[in-house]
Symmetry: C2
Subunit: 411 residues, 2 copies
């Protein structure tokens, strides 16, 4: 199988750069928090491009934006998209790439007058990053019916603002009913945000699953005492137990092998003084696996270890599950097509899981979905130094184009 | 051996309470940071009591205060004392007890017209707590020649003030030459600040040594990355190594047994986010032992472990020694006397090390020294809830009185 491409990587890159100017932090990065003035300006720019292509603009009650071609065709569509909100110190690729590549594919179909059998849609989902308003992937979650829209609109942000008020303020409280858009299939091109593709010198990741995520907070309650005058056997050392849990996580994860990862990125001791035995310690453990059973096992083993460590140290332990997302498999046909078209274009490809969360995992609840990853230089993500080489952006665009047009043109 | 006591525990306790009013925090605690206005007011009160007893007031160039009886007697003196500065949320006993018990013993000697063979001195050392101006025990350290006075006067405090300027401001930059006071022996009565006496139902601690203290800061430098997308083998996880060091400390300490204690009370991760592998981690390890060799061994084992853990995790490690104090033995004759007089008064006594630092360990460099501990309820220290029962204060005063007068009356 070989294939040709009509899409313009240059035009897509120009749009990426233009969108990256909105909320630019001056150091190559972008700050475009969901439903901020910068988000409105970014939406206006993207919607403007859609209008210039004479797409039909549908904005739903949660502010998710859809540009449909051809207009007023309610047949199930091939949808491409992602998000354009960013973290506070984000880059210009995360999310934006999936939106602007989708737009480019539609522009290509229009220019080439391709005989598509079903509509093409480019989608922009509201508040994927979840930085200002938790949780992440909110727009696609609401779209897929995983969160009632009223609950989502009533979310209070870290700045005290109510999401629904902000949505109205920026003028993106649309009238299209949430979740009613007919979808044939969903495709999301995204930067990997990790080091695997670059390390293995592979250009295209055919994402076959999204890892399940378990976040657990362990709060250890001991008693502060003098580090010099308190014998070891009379201590209730919260810091000790926190460190023991933190050291157990990588030990268990390496033992388990496979896709399992585990991270203790956050730990806070109190009062956090060199010569005072810690009164309390809070740490969060992030566990991920593509296998739901193994992830649950890991969580159980960790809990058992934590409780035993707390008993041994004579401290109290509180355990709180903060996040518990099951792994999401993508549609096998789409994964196969991504891999096959990558090869057809002459790119090295590999199947891989996604370690991060993406809108596609929510849309996968309601339609066959898939993702295409392109390499992140240095694996750097959520950082102003986020970068993907132009040749790799081009590769991702071409694979998206081929898969989307194939899905849109076949019966 | 039995003995009688003339000292008035009531008068001492009244003075403790009166001094505790100065800098009172309103919740039973005291904030009287070194060389603050409250410290000046506290000094003025204590010096007023000394003058009322017609003691000779000697104030040295570092603000250390000595009240001598009888006046102008330059023979080596039996010195009793401690400090009256406190931590920001201190109690009324820490330090103050040693000063006011010394004053009470002198008042007793005067009232009873005891035939002493050498002078009695009550001493107030400047800045023992080291909270505003580091390091701790500064006045006694300067007195003992362990720190040049000019260096000490040039110390800049956490509020930006220069110690020498503050000393002059509060009017306690005296003209007596530092370290020239002839000392026959030094005695410090102090609250234990730990739980051992109370736990063992013992009233008097005959302190035979002060633990050596080693503070080491480990700074782990890794690389932040996404907790989901970064495979374990490609991580440079600073938090992992910090936790492993923190978990190794108690493991090693329990293995060593004896007097060894070890604490990780302070740890800071960066950026300290649940889903980001930590870029850096800083922790401090507080190790203490009464045996210098064992303490050095512990430090070496810990360093070796830390370096191995850093290599294994592919991170950089910086090690900085913050404090390295050798253990200090007290004069065996004085320790024996404390134990014997405690028994003579009918109190249960035990020999014990001090886990905290005290002025007596500095004066031990220049004169035979010893300490007497009384129980701290709940082992609580450096806390507004610091408390020692009146009967235990009385016991400590009586043992101090007996030992001091014995030293002052014998030839």
């Amino acid at each position: 199988m070989t294939t040709i491409s009509y899409a313009s990587p240059r035009r897509m890159l120009d749009r990426l750069k233009a969108l990256g100017e909105i909320g630019a932090t001056g150091d190559g990065g972008v700050c475009r928090l969901a439903l901020s003035d910068a988000d409105r300006a970014g939406r206006d720019l993207v919607v403007g491009w859609m209008r210039a292509l004479d797409l039909e603009i549908l904005i739903d009650a949660f502010g998710n934006i859809f540009g449909r071609y051809p207009k007023a065709n309610d047949a199930p569509a091939v949808v491409m998209g992602s998000h354009i909100d960013t973290v506070a110190t984000g880059g210009i690729y995360d999310g934006n790439l999936g939106v602007l590549a989708g737009l480019e594919v539609i522009e290509t179909a229009i220019e080439q007058k391709l005989p598509i059998a079903r509509p093409l849609i480019v989608a922009v989902f509201t508040n994927e990053e979840g930085v200002r308003f938790a949780p992440q992937m909110m727009g696609s979650l609401v779209f897929a019916g995983g969160l009632p829209i009223q609950t989502a609109l009533d979310t209070i942000g870290i700045d005290g603002a109510r999401l629904g008020d902000e949505l109205r303020r920026i003028g993106y409280d649309g009238d299209y009913p949430v979740g009613k858009l007919p979808i044939h299939s969903f495709l999301e091109l995204h930067i990997e945000q990790g080091p695997v593709l670059e390390t293995e010198d592979v250009t295209i990741g055919a994402v076959d699953r999204v890892q399940g995520i378990s976040w657990t907070e362990y709060k250890v309650l001991g008693q502060s005492s003098h580090a010099g005058t308190t014998p070891m056997h009379l201590r209730k050392d919260a810091g000790r137990v926190a460190c023991e849990i933190g050291a157990f996580v990588p030990q268990m994860v390496f033992e388990m092998g496979g896709d399992q990862v585990g991270t203790v990125g956050r730990m806070i001791l109190g009062p956090n003084l060199t010569n005072v035995v810690a009164r309390e310690a809070t740490l969060t453990v992030d566990l991920r696996n593509t296998d739901a059973g193994k992830l649950a096992d890991a969580r159980k083993r960790l809990d058992a270890f934590a409780h035993a460590a707390a008993r041994e140290a004579n401290v109290h332990l509180e355990v709180r599950q903060l996040t518990d997302l099951l792994p999401v498999p993508f549609a096998p046909d789409i994964v196969d097509m991504v891999e096959a078209y990558a090869s057809a274009h002459g790119y090295k490809a590999r199947r891989m899981p996604s370690g991060a969360g993406h809108d596609a995992q929510m849309i996968a609840r309601v339609a066959p979905s898939g993702m295409i990853f392109v390499p992140s230089v240095g694996g750097i993500s959520h950082n102003v130094r986020e970068f993907t080489k132009p040749d790799d952006l081009k590769a991702g665009l071409q694979v998206l184009e081929s898969v989307a047009l194939r899905l849109a043109m076949q019966n």
